[in-house]
Amino acid sequence: MENTYDFKKVMSKPERLAPGHRMCAGCGGTITVRTVLRALEEDDRAVIGNATGCLEVSSFMYPYTAYEDSYIHNAFENAGATLSGVETAYRVLKKKGKLTEDFKFITFGGDGGTYDIGFQSLSGAMERGHDMVYVCYDNGAYMNTGTQRSSATPQYADTTTTPVGRVSNGKVQVRKDLAAIIAEHYVPYVGQSTFTANFKDLYTKARKAIYTPGAAFLNVLSPCPRGWGYEPAEMMDICKMAVETCYWPLFEVIDGKWILSYAPRHKLPIEEFLKSQKRFKHLFQKGNEELIACFQAEVDKRWDALCSRCE
């Protein structure tokens, strides 16, 4: 596998998610899909899976599909199990000599379909070790149904089921650390990424995930303009701030070994991530300084724990 990342060359590969789908402008989900699929070798064939969600209902509206590859959507909570079946069929058809072509298997789910309703199906698929990549495009809420909180939603986020009100500061609980949970399955590859540095981090991790034999998991912070409340042009800055504040650390777990992909030289205060998003607007009202301090303390605690795991 190449060690150098040639942005121009990578971006000039043919798109495997065709334009014309109905996802929003400024949607992180589609950028995740395009970047991950770009990591496939051009001549390699793949079957793409998908949990129900924005991505599915916007990219495969009968009779049109945006996917250049074979594609299967089944339901909301079973992308892991569904692709398990496809991958197993591949192995048995190869074993029986009914198939000679090579295929890769990649499935996409939002955080609703991955952290929550599809968690069991994902855990089963990872534990069984199917040769597949499960990619979570984590936008931190159930966006397809209109921004309801998920277990990936950060604390204090204003969502439609954790609305900010006279006696509410948004979501009460802190978010689940899914990448760590999947790493505890001792699968060969887990990567957490988002859109930084010309997509080098995500592209590189996607290549490792796809071309490492066995089960692999990618957790990709994928902002949602409607749910988070930002202008489309601000997305890359928000991703950068998520990493520079250590809210969303970039790391890998390869065969059980934890590796930090990037440590900011000067960790920025969490306000730099929060301030451009409407879902956190209430945190900046007078009297809510304590909430930001709590948010910062949670980020610090998790960052320190991650750094010690990566030593």
């Binding site: 079957v47 009968y62 079973n78 398990s84 079946g85 496809v86 069929a89 199906s121 089963g124």
Partner: protein, 395 residues
């Protein structure tokens, strides 16, 4: 020459699976179907078949993975019972609308609650609207024979629908009976190789499965499923005819037992037919009364016209349901048989009984009492209850 054996219903299904050697079997254990995946796992462990087993973490994932495997181009199946099937519910509809020729070995068991592990038909009857073909068995021989016929029906180009092969929990699944098995080479020739036209792993084509279909398209997909179900009727008969050529055993939509001149008839599904036949023989031999039985084999597609025709000359009919649907009136079989007879202007009076829920026994004398009641009904034409119970302790 057929092979003489003694097998339980679960063993018989597992043996059929071994003979067919399908590609992928995801399964999760649940009583009383657990033995089926266990036997298959043992065949795999001993290198007797090259099926790949997926050790899924739930029945929802079992059907999800079966769908994935089938869409990918593999011959796929699973086995379950009761709550396991209830957990698959959503996926049953997906399998049918994706038009995947999956086979499900269902061992009928009561749905919770209260939790109960014994036979009734509440699991498959609840799934009667899911778009699956449903074939039921009276005996181990029948469930074996039905299983061998399932893939040729499911995979037929005019059908492309999933098939549920049902047997009664414990009574059939665990009861050991004499059975005639078909030789391996004849099974292979009968079932044939699976050669799908469109699938995810096709060497040259791409395919997309499971779209979002708005109201402009959804209704036509349902109409197409109906058409496939209609086409399935002839295919089921054609496959049965081919099976009869191979084995001499005849199958149709239902079995009409001593119905040629019957004045009073019982209609039911499953293993209770054996007990009912004993009652029919006893009544005819001792009293000469003209009683008969219709045992439904194919409930989906529902053989409406054929059934009405078979009941055209009868004076009184008792339809026996082994599941509730809580309509307050009939059970599922009762409602459909009544509707079929009404449309065909049958003159017979019809009563509906609930029996055997959660595995409650039904005996020859129970059936004799039902036939006695039918005789009175045929004379008086007075239907006092839309539904009755057999073997219920009333307060």
């Amino acid at each position: 020459m057929a092979i003489r054996e003694r097998l339980s219903g679960n063993e018989a299904v597992a043996y059929a699976i071994k003979q067919i050697n399908p590609d992928v079997m995801p399964a999760f254990p649940i009583t009383p179907s657990t033995e089926i995946p266990q036997y298959v796992a043992a065949y795999i462990a001993n290198g007797e078949i090259d099926t790949e087993f997926i050790h899924v973490e739930s029945e929802h994932s079992a059907m999800s993975a079966t769908i994935g495997a089938s869409a990918a181009g593999a011959r796929a199946l699973t086995a379950t019972s009761s709550c396991g099937m209830a957990l698959m519910w959503e996926e049953l509809y997906v399998a049918a609308s994706d038009r995947l020729p999956i086979v499900l070995a269902l061992v009928n068991r009561a749905l919770s609650g209260p939790i109960n592990i014994n036979a009734d038909h509440s699991d498959s009857m609840g799934a009667r609207d899911s778009g699956w073909i449903q074939i039921y068995a009276e005996s181990n021989q029948e469930v074996y024979d039905n299983f061998l016929q399932a893939y040729p029906i499911a995979e037929h180009e005019k059908v492309h629908l999933p098939v549920m092969v049902c047997q009664d929990g414990f009574i059939t699944s665990h009861g050991v009976e004499n059975i005639l098995l078909v030789e391996d080479d004849r099974v292979k020739a009968f079932v044939g190789e699976y050669e799908p036209q469109h699938y995810l792993l096709h060497p040259t084509q791409r395919m997309a499965v499971g779209p979002y279909a708005v109201s402009n398209y959804y209704m036509e997909t349902k109409r197409a499923q109906r058409q496939a179900m209609l086409e399935a009727k002839q295919v089921i008969l054609d496959v049965a005819a081919r099976f009869e050529e191979m084995t001499g055993r005849r199958y149709g939509f239902f079995e009409a037992y001593r119905m040629e001149d019957a004045a009073c008839a019982i209609v039911l599904i499953g293993s209770a037919a054996g007990t009912c036949k004993a009652a029919v023989d006893h009544i005819r031999n001792t009293t000469g009364k003209k009683v008969g039985l219709i045992k439904i084999r194919v409930f989906r597609p529902f053989p409406e016209e054929e059934l009405a025709q078979a009941l055209a000359g009868v004076e009184a009919v008792a339809v026996l349901d082994r599941s509730e649907m809580f309509s307050g009136t009939s059970g599922p079989l009762g409602a459909e048989v009544r509707a079929a007879m009404y449309q065909a202007r049958c003159k017979a009076e019809v009563v509906n009984y609930f029996y055997g829920l959660g595995g409650r026994d039904i005996t020859v004398s129970d059936f004799e009492a039902v036939y006695d009641g039918l005789e009175t009904l045929a004379r008086t034409h007075e239907v006092t209850d839309m539904y009755r119970y057999i073997g219920l302790r009333e307060a």
